[in-house]
């Protein structure tokens, strides 16, 4: 039995990409305003030592967001990436995402297709957001790409990621989009420099760097994720992106 219930999801392709995405059928949704949340989690071999902390971080963010006043206006998509990008579940209402299955959901091993994952995560919110808006719904989005290292396995370039970001921002489908690149366990200056450069080249709105990956640090990251998601959800209707929080 699959870990995540994907019964009501339909799959879609993304133009120019090997990877697609899935999302809940729009006529099954129970709210007219949606904040699309995409989390792309690095599962390359180097993440293995703190895999459980990453899972707990996602689980805790989901748990916190489910308690939020606007929980029914949140949809979550989760992908993991190593050699390839794998969707663990497509866009689902957060109220249909019980926290428990996120424990043990990641499988580590392999290289880091960081650009492919970022491109897919951003392209998917744009495409699904376009479908929502075409049916009269309102949507904005927030994308988190969590990694511990540089890309070494992607077909996509930072320039392609940048185009995806630009399309998300200028496409007039999503009311606003916030993109956050999170570097965890970044101990080497070389990796830090590379991720910061990627953030700039690809046009991420924010780069958050954590030099540790212990339980405490990732619990704070969970708090940051849930607060950022909720603030972006509150911004829906204001026409602009949310004010970014501090870690």
């Amino acid at each position: 039995m699959p870990r995540f219930d994907t019964t009501d999801l339909t799959t879609h392709t993304l133009v120019g990409s090997t990877y697609g995405y899935s999302g809940t059928r729009i006529d099954r949704l129970g709210a007219t305003e949606m904040t699309l949340v995409a989390i792309a989690a690095d599962t390359s071999g180097s993440v293995h030592p703190f895999k459980r902390e990453i899972e707990a971080c996602i689980q805790e963010a989901v748990r916190a967001c489910r308690q939020a006043p606007r929980a029914d206006n949140l949809m979550l998509r989760l992908v993991q990436f190593a050699d390839t990008v794998k969707e663990l579940h497509g866009f689902k209402p957060l109220v249909d995402c019980p926290p428990d299955p996120y424990a043990g959901c990641l499988r580590t091993g392999g290289c880091t297709a960081l650009h492919d994952a970022a491109h897919n995560a951003i392209g998917a919110v744009t495409a699904y957001g376009r479908d929502l808006v075409a049916r009269g719904l309102t949507a904005n989005a927030i994308v988190f790409v969590i990694t511990d290292g540089e890309d070494n396995a992607s077909r996509m370039t930072p320039g392609a990621v940048r185009l995806a970001v630009e399309e998300a921002v200028t496409g007039e489908h999503l009311e606003s989009v916030v993109t956050v690149l999170v570097g965890v366990n970044v101990k080497e200056a070389r990796v830090a420099t590379a991720l910061m450069a990627l953030s700039t080249q690809a046009g991420f709105d924010h780069y958050l760097e954590l030099d540790k990956a212990d339980a405490s640090t990732l619990a704070r990251l969970a708090d940051f994720l849930s607060r950022s998601i909720q603030v972006q959800s509150q911004a829906l209707g204001s026409g602009g992106p949310s004010r970014m929080l501090t870690f």
Binding site: R135, S238, G239
Partner: protein
């Protein structure tokens, strides 16, 4: 942080922190809420707090004490603590209401409670101003409401100090009691229907702000409404008021009686009563409901909500009410359009046949079934034929809102809907000749002749029900929550959620040409425009 209120000193720290807003932080301690302003100078003046204290009532969270710093500086105020209450926005999604078992009656009761609280504020001389989705809290059992953030209200000569964009009246310079009713309408609409009334998608007004400025609420035909939105949840007694406020800039409180949802009234109805909406100088030749209001026309003029808007339609013209009416005149296959200024121009549309149901016009254009629409091109309103389906013209007949094809592959019904067209194979008509048909958004009524006599069919949800009849006319009226099917002197009331199921019947006859307007059947009889209500067992 040490603070003093009501003669008591206390410490506010992270352990009792609740939330931080744009201008203040809120703490919960000693059974009260402490609102501490980031800028102490923003603490409301004592005279304003005194005026607000006088408003204290169940549901109005008025200040208790002024909070001072240990040095005596005014830094905030204390308020009654509403532990566990949620912001109103939480109740907006239909999924939440369904999951929590909050039915439409409970929602109507909450809206009525909100109406009472706004009245209460006004009676105390206050203007709420920032009546938004997070300044109204709901009790944990979802059965009561309270207004918070009252220190932002306008009272005793002090202006309102906040106003959210989501409820700001784009046609008013500053908050007033009138704009409070606009904000109330926006909140009540979201609570009842699950969508902000100016959401949805419009081809040109792409932002919420633009739609609010142009009065393009979700009632407007050009606005694409999300699929989960059910306007039938609006109480019939308030439907017209919502349209007046959201489309026509009316500002005032809703009628005191929201009325039972028509669907519920239909379950106990024993008959129909009518009242005169207005009387014209001469016989009313036709009427059509549109988001702008009710259009009527006589031999002398065309009226909107009783106001003269233009000359009478040309003789023999077919009305197309897609916004202000356009009159369509056929000259052979060619169609000319006459606007409200009386200007006549060719449309470029060629038709073999066209039929109006009062507002919508269907046409047979060669082998295509089309709906005629009015589009804005540049500064002009242009009539275009929007193709709906390919049909066999030789064996297709047009009716109001639909077409019937009786061909070698059986009988097919083509129903025009907001989304385009729905094509239904109706085997029950294979051995019959269709005499009349009338189609709405949710159902179609067909009267057909069989060797055994006339039958009346109702096609809805892919299901066909039929009954013998003596009345050759098909009349269907779709109201919020209920469908009315006329059959001679009997009016059948079908629940809109289960339109295929025969509903209750009452002895009543609605006049031909009846339309749904402001949630009620509306028709013309001589010079009078009549509106009808379902009469219950206890009505006089």
């Amino acid at each position: 942080m040490d603070v003093v209120a009501g003669g008591r000193r206390t410490t506010l720290g992270p352990a009792c922190f609740v939330a931080r807003g744009g201008e203040a932080s809120v703490y919960a301690r000693d059974g009260v809420a402490w609102k501490i302003y980031a800028d102490a100078a923003r603490t409301p003046p004592e005279a304003k707090l005194a005026a607000l204290r006088a408003l204290a009532a169940p549901g109005v969270v008025a200040p208790i004490h002024t909070v001072h710093s240990p040095t005596g500086e005014r830094v905030g105020l204390t308020l009654p603590l509403l532990d566990g209450w949620s912001p109103l926005v939480r109740l907006f999604p239909p999924a939440f209401q369904k999951r929590e078992g909050i039915d439409v009656d409970a929602v109507v009761a909450l809206v009525d409670r909100l109406r009472h609280l706004v009245h209460l504020a006004h009676a105390g001389g206050a203007v709420v101003g920032d009546l938004n989705e997070v300044n109204v809290l709901v009790r944990p059992d979802w059965a009561d409401l309270a207004l918070i953030d009252v220190d932002s209200w306008a009272i005793a000569g002090f202006p309102a100090t906040a106003l959210a964009e989501s409820v700001r009246d784009r046609h008013a310079a500053r908050p007033s009691m009138e704009t409070d009713w606009f904000a109330f309408a926006v909140l009540a609409f979201q609570l009842l229907v699950g969508v902000h009334p100016y959401r949805g998608r419009h081809p040109t007004a792409r932002t919420l702000d633009a739609r609010m400025q142009q009065d393009l609420a979700v009632f407007h035909p050009d606005v694409v409404v999300p699929p989960m939105v059910d306007l039938a949840r609006l109480p019939p007694g308030w439907r017209g008021w919502f349209e007046d406020v959201l489309l026509r800039r009316h500002r005032g409180p809703p009628p005191s009686d929201p009325g039972a949802p028509v669907s519920r009234a239909a379950q106990t109805a024993t008959g129909v009563t009518s009242e005169t909406l207005r009387t014209h100088d001469g016989p009313v030749l036709g009427l059509a409901a549109s988001p702008e209001g009710l259009w009527t026309w006589t031999a002398d003029a065309t009226f909107l909500a009783g106001r003269r808007m233009g000359p009478a339609p040309p003789a023999g013209a077919v009305p197309l009410v897609d916004g202000p009416p356009v009159w369509l005149l056929r000259d052979g296959e060619h169609v000319e359009a006459v606007d409200l200024e009386g200007q006549r121009r060719p449309t470029g549309v060629a038709v073999r046949e066209l039929v109006s149901d009062g507002s919508r016009v269907l046409a047979l254009c060669g082998g295509t079934l089309a709906r005629l629409r009015v589009r804005h091109v540049g500064g002009d309103r242009v009539v275009v034929a929007v193709p709906l389906a390919t049909i066999q013209p030789a064996c297709t007949v047009l009716f109001r809102g639909c077409a019937v094809t009786a061909g070698p592959h059986g009988t097919w019904l083509h129903r025009a809907t907001a989304a385009g067209v729905e094509q239904v194979r109706v085997r029950a008509l294979d051995d019959a000749v269709v005499v009349d048909a009338h189609s709405g958004e949710r159902a179609t009524v067909v009267v057909a002749r069989r060797p055994s006599g006339l039958v009346r069919l109702v096609v809805a949800d892919g299901t066909v029900t039929e009954a013998a009849t003596d009345d050759p006319t098909a009349i269907l009226v779709e109201l919020p929550g209920v469908l009315l099917v006329q059959d001679g002197g009997t009016l059948h009331l079908r629940d809109a959620r289960t339109p295929h199921a025969p509903g209750r019947s009452v002895q009543a006859a609605l006049p031909p040409g009846v339309v749904a307007h402001a949630g009620r059947p509306t028709a013309a009889e001589g010079p009078a425009v009549l509106t009808f209500s379902l009469r219950g067992p206890h009505d006089a």
